[in-house]
Structure formats: structure tokens, C-alpha cells
């Protein structure tokens, strides 16, 4: 369970998040919506302790993320996968090597270097299985910069899954693809997260996708939560309309 207790985040005089109180239960599929600058990425940054709250607390399974350091913080992070907006892939490496980076915490430095240089047969098979699940198993040995935008997003999802996380944080991962591809990717990610009973927190601009695939929609504006409810909530469309 992830709890925000009056969590605020400021960058100098700029307030990115203003006293957020939220609880996200394990296995929940949560979508963050709101205009650019609403604080969605900042909220995701607090979820895995990438950014510490300037006041208040973010508590994950009874552990205050702001107080964790060193090994303990790494331990917690190894259970949370993050898919940033630009996907964070290494373009000149093969798909298999990029996916292997998902296990950086467990493998350690030398283990990861070994995977990058001489990946064993068993690991190749595991990676291949994951890629099959996201629909691009035939691209396992392609360089990432030879792939289309949609295929790259699937690689980023496979890397997140390889980590075997309890929670996936995805920051507008479909912002750079056409609506049809965006739909299939969101469907894929939510389906896998449900099957694996993972918590999924994803920020999106598309309110239709939010309503269609998620259990819960959180609307944000100017660093505050302005809506928190089920996808069928009438306020969701209202928020969307006001933002246009």
C-alpha cells in the first residue's frame, strides 16, 4: 500500500505538489490525468523516492520513503519499475540487452555487465518469453534504434516486467504514438498488471483510455488532487472538458 500523507514538493519558489493525501492499494490500476504542469510526473517521482517530499510523508508498505537511504532504498526500488516518458532505452544496444537492464538491482554491476556482453541461453529464453508477451519476440536481437516508436514502448514494458515488480510507474508512456497504438499499449500494460496482480500508476492525457482501462482515476491540476474516483465518475469528463 502506498500512502501520501500531506506530501508536498517544491522546487525553490515553485510548488509542484501541494499537500497531497492519497492511498493507493496494492494491485490497483490508477490513472493520473490532468494538463501539463499539473504535477503528475512529480507525483510519480515521489512514488519510488526518486524525489523526496519537501514536507509530509510518502509511505510504502509502512516504510517512509523519505527516510530510506542506501541499501534499504535500493531494496525498495528493486520492487518498483519505472517507465519514463522518453522510455529510457539505450538506442545502440539490442532489445535483449535493454530488457536485461531491468534486473540491474538484483544482478549487481558485474552481473549486468555479463548479461550485456555474454547473455546466457537461459536468460535469452526468459527475455524471449517476456517479449512474446508484449508481442515483439522476433525483435529480441534487433538494435533499439532500428525499431518503430510502438515497438520501443513494448521494449520498455518488457524491461519493467523483467524486474518482476510489485508496482509499475509509467509516465505518459504513450504520448508519442498514434491513438490506435496508444490504446493497444495501455490495454497490454493494464492486462498484464491485472494478471500479475501488480499495482499500476500511469499518467495519461487521454481521458477515454483512462476511463476504459483503469480502476481509478485521479485528476490533478496545479499540484493538487482535484478528482479521485471511479472511471465512470462524471467529474472525469468535466475535468477533461475544462482543460481543453
Amino acid at each position: 500500500m502506498l500512502e501520501f500523507q500531506s506530501a508536498s514538493l517544491s522546487y525553490g519558489a515553485t510548488v509542484a505538489l501541494d499537500s497531497i493525501d492519497l492511498t493507493i492499494r496494492s494491485g490497483e490500476q490508477v490513472c493520473l490525468i490532468g494538463p501539463s504542469g499539473a504535477g503528475k510526473s512529480s507525483l510519480l517521482g515521489l512514488c519510488n523516492g526518486r524525489v523526496p517530499a519537501t514536507s509530509g510523508k510518502v509511505v510504502l508498505n509502512d516504510q517512509n520513503l523519505g527516510e530510506l537511504k542506501g541499501k534499504a532504498l535500493k531494496e525498495v526500488r528493486s520492487g518498483i519499475a519505472w517507465v519514463p516518458q522518453d522510455l529510457g532505452l539505450i538506442p545502440n544496444l539490442r532489445v535483449s540487452q535493454n530488457v536485461a537492464c531491468g534486473l540491474a538491482a538484483r544482478k549487481g554491476f558485474w552481473g549486468l555487465m555479463r548479461s550485456l556482453l555474454l547473455m546466457g541461453k537461459a536468460e535469452k529464453e526468459r527475455v524471449s518469453g517476456l517479449l512474446k508477451r508484449v508481442g515483439i519476440e522476433e525483435k529480441i536481437f534487433s538494435r533499439v534504434d532500428h525499431l518503430s516508436g510502438g515497438q520501443r514502448q513494448r521494449v520498455a514494458i518488457a524491461r519493467a516486467l523483467y524486474q518482476e515488480p510489485q508496482m509499475i510507474l509509467a509516465d505518459e508512456p504513450v504520448s508519442a504514438v498514434d491513438p490506435e497504438r496508444a490504446k493497444s499499449l495501455v490495454e497490454l500494460l493494464t492486462t498484464i498488471a491485472r494478471e500479475e496482480k501488480m499495482t499500476l500508476v500511469m499518467s495519461l492525457h487521454d481521458v477515454d483510455l483512462a476511463q476504459r482501462y483503469f480502476d481509478r482515476v485521479i485528476g490533478m491540476r496545479a499540484g493538487r488532487v482535484v478528482l479521485d474516483g471511479s472511471p465512470d465518475d462524471a467529474g472525469v469528463k468535466e475535468l477533461y472538458r475544462l482543460d481543453q
Binding site: W82, P84, N92, A104, G108, E138, F141, D145
Partner: protein, 575 residues
Amino acid sequence: MRRRWFFLGAIALFFWGLWVLEVRPGQLIPSEGGREAAGDFLSAAFQPALDYEELDMRGGEVSFLGKIGKALWLTVRYAVVAMSLAFVIGVIGGVLGSRAWWSKPNLFLQVLRIGTRLLATAIRSVHELMWALLFLSAVGTSPLVAILAMALPYGGTLAKVFSELLDESESSAGAVIRASGGSGTTAFFAGVVTKALPDLATYALYRLECAVRSSAVLGFVGIPTIGYEIKTAYEDGHYHEIWSYVYALLIVVVLFEAWGAKVRGLLTKGTPSRVGEEKGQSLSELWQGRGRSWFLRFSVATLTVGIAAGWMAEDRWGAGVGWEQREKNLDRFTDEMVPYPVREADGDWSVFGSWFSEKMSDGGAVALWRTFHVGTTAILLAGGLSLIGILFAARTLAASNPRGVRDGGSKIRGLLGMFLRGASMLARAMPEYILAFLLLRVFGPTYWVLIFALAIHNGGILLRLGAEVIDNTKSQASEVILAQGGNRSSAYLAAMMPAGFNRLVLFLFYRWESCIREATVLGMLGVASLGFLISDAKVAFFYDEMILWVGLGAALVFVGDLTSDFVRGKLRTVE
């Protein structure tokens, strides 16, 4: 408006430089005796020697072609071995100097990082020829001197550029690894270094091409590379042999450049898979058909073997003079590198100031000033000529349908473009020092020679880079001009050059720092500038003066480097 001021400033600086250097067009006409010698020298270019010019030389153990081969082998070997050492220096310095490595630095680590970068810049500010002279003076001749003389400045250059490339490669890939619990070291190597790898390898290969040229030039201070054979052939009056060595060197450098370009392309773009990558294929089928380049593998293997062979082929790295003599040389050098009045005053450094002032007013300041102007005037000439050349050399302008607009013009322009691109390749391949050495034979000891040598080499580089900029610049305005009946010159001057202007200026500054660096040593050929003072002091065994002039040259290059870095940084932010 800014462009106009830039051009006016550049023209003013160019003519100011000519005035400071007191050069006149009349100096380009050799005297009658000089004309004859220059004629003999130039005509020999069309008849390079295939055998020794003097019959009694044929009795030697090695044929002339064998001698060329041996000189080339040594040139390439010293370059490869020196680069392998420079690469290690570059990697260590590059990582320590990179912001990406120190994710959350405290004040001490910040100082360490900036200190590493400044040290790298300082080491590269001393030209490899100067390092060679310093080592030769300190310990005497040996193959190791050649290696160290190249490895130090090249290591400094690699460290500086590597740290910049690593910083540019910092991206969310490393952040994702850290965010998923990976350590900072793992995130740096897996997320930053792997991403930067093609750029790091590309730059190292480019420096290897430069090292081959530098290795040749080291021959002029007694290292047995091809430059040594060129110098000896000149001293013996064997002009035909000189050209044979020059052509052989050109062929090797051009081959290195072509090989480097092919490897760079493969590293950057990768190789597509050889199978259709269809669903249902087994893992082993996909693995067998993965994109891989045999050329790249062969190149890596050859380079590895080449480095190992380069180190192992020399069984006497310290050869030349005995160790006892070396110790004596080193003692003398370290004693005498202390300024003479300081030595006389039993180590009292308070007298240094008056000695320094005396040396500066006794020719040092003038030499420094002239060295600056040689480099600056040369790069402005190179820039001006390349701006004109780009109009004919850029592929998109030289094509029969410029910028895709049907023109129906003759093919002469295309041929001229090909000729210019070929000429620029040869100009790039020829080391400035050897070019100046050859031009001295034609024009005699005048500053024109230094300016021309630098301008030809750097003009070749700027022409290539500039033509690529123009070819890659998206400019619909140029297409409109051409479609409305305008000619290529109008499209180039009115649309394409303004669009690519910042990048062209960026390259000009990048080469300016290199010109200043080269200008500090060209005087060693006998034209009064810093290099002249250095070789003069070396011949007279005035090590204190030698160190002073080397230090001044390094300071000039250091300031030039920082200025160029600053201007290029500004230009990048404007872009």
C-alpha cells in the same frame, strides 16, 4: 546584422594579421635561384622515385620501396601503440572529468572533476612535437619518447572529449536503472557509457587517423618515422624520393580515413538483421540471423592484434643511449630547466620576474603575438576559401537537380564538386608540418608558408564539414529560390548559408584552436615565431628558455581552447 558584423570583424582581423606578420604579395615570388630550386622540387612531384636517386645507395640491404615500407610501418606502429596508451589515459581522465560519473558531488569532488578537465586541457596544450623535444632533451632518443610524446597530448584530448561525450549521453536510461535499485556505478556504465560507446569509439578512431599524421611529423625531430626520411631526403637533395615518401604517407592516411569512416558508419547505424524477423522463428534462428558486421569484427580483431604486435615488435623501447647517459641527461635537464638567474642566485626565485620580462621584450612577446596571428589569419583564410568551396562541393548543390529542383544544367558542376571533395580529402590527409616543410622549399622562409600550410589542411577539413552542414540543413527557402528561377549561388548565399551559419562558425572555432596549437610548432621550420625560439633554445641547450617558450605556447593554446569552448558552448545554446 550579427552575421554582417561577424564577417566584417573576420575580414578586419585577417588583414590586421597580415599587417602584424608583415607579409606582402611580393614574398610569394621566389628569387631567381629560388625559382630554379622550386621548379626542380615541384617538377619532381610528377616523377616520384621508385629507387634510390644515388646509385651507391642501392648497395644497401634494403630496397628503396622496402625502406618506404619500413618507414610507414614504424609510422603506423608508433601511432597505434601511442593511441593505445592515450586511450587508457583518455578513459580514466574522461570518467573522472565527467559530470555524469559524480552524480551528487560534494565540493571536493567538484574540484577533482574540474581539476581533471583542466589538467587534460593543459596536457593537450603542449604539442606532441614539443613533448618530443622535451623528452629528447631530458632523456635522449628512444622509441618510448615517440610513444609518450604522442600519448600524453592525445590522452589529454581524449579525456577532455570523452568527458564531454559522457555528459551528453546522460539520459533517463541511467535514471531508470537507478530508480529500479541499481547502483550509481551500474547506472553510469550500463546507462551512460554504453549509450556513448559509438561516439567514444568514433572519436578514438578519428584521433588514430590524426596520430598517424603526428607520428609522421615526429620524424622531423629524429624519430625514425616517414617524416625522418622526408627530412633526410631533402638534406641529401633527393627531391624525387621526397615525393615518393609524401605519396606513400598520403595513401596510408587516406586508407586510414576510409577505414575509419566505414567503421564509424557501422557503429553509429548498426547492421540490420539478415533474417526477416518473423514471428515463429526460433531463438537460435533469430540469433544466427542477428545484425552483425564481419567488417567490424575484422577491424576490432585487426586493431587488437595491431596494438599487441606494435608493443611486442619493439624489444628495445629504451634504446638509443645508455642508462648512465640518460641519467646524466636528465640531471642536466632538470638542473638547467631552472632559469639561469635563479640558478646563479642559489635558487632565489625573486629574480625570475626580471628574467621573464627581459626574455619577453627580447623577442618572446613578438613571437607569441605572431604565433597567434599565424593561427588566426590561417583559419580565417581557410574559412573564407571553404565558404566559397562549399557552393561547389556540397552534394545537394552540385547535383544536376540542386535540392531536388529540376535544373537541367551541365555536368561540369558535378565534376567540379567531385574534384573539390577529392582535393579536400588530400588536404586533410597531409599534416600541416610536412605541408609547411614542402612549401618552404618553394617560397622560402616567409609567414605565407605557415599561413598557407595551416589554411590548406584546415580548409580541407572545413570544406568537408561545411558541405555536410549545408547538405543536411533543411531549407525550403533555398528550394523556393531555385524553383522561382534563382541560381545555386543565390540559394546558397540567401538561404542555406544563413540557415547553417551557427554550425559553420562552430566548426571555425573548433579548427581555430587546432590552428593555434599547430602554429606554436611550425616556427621550428625556421620562420620566426614561438616554434623558432623553441628549436633555437634546444640547439643552444638553453633548457630554461626552451621550457619558457614551450610554457608560453601551451598558455596560448590553453587560452585558445577555453575561448573556443566558451564560444562553441554559446553557439550550441543558440542552436
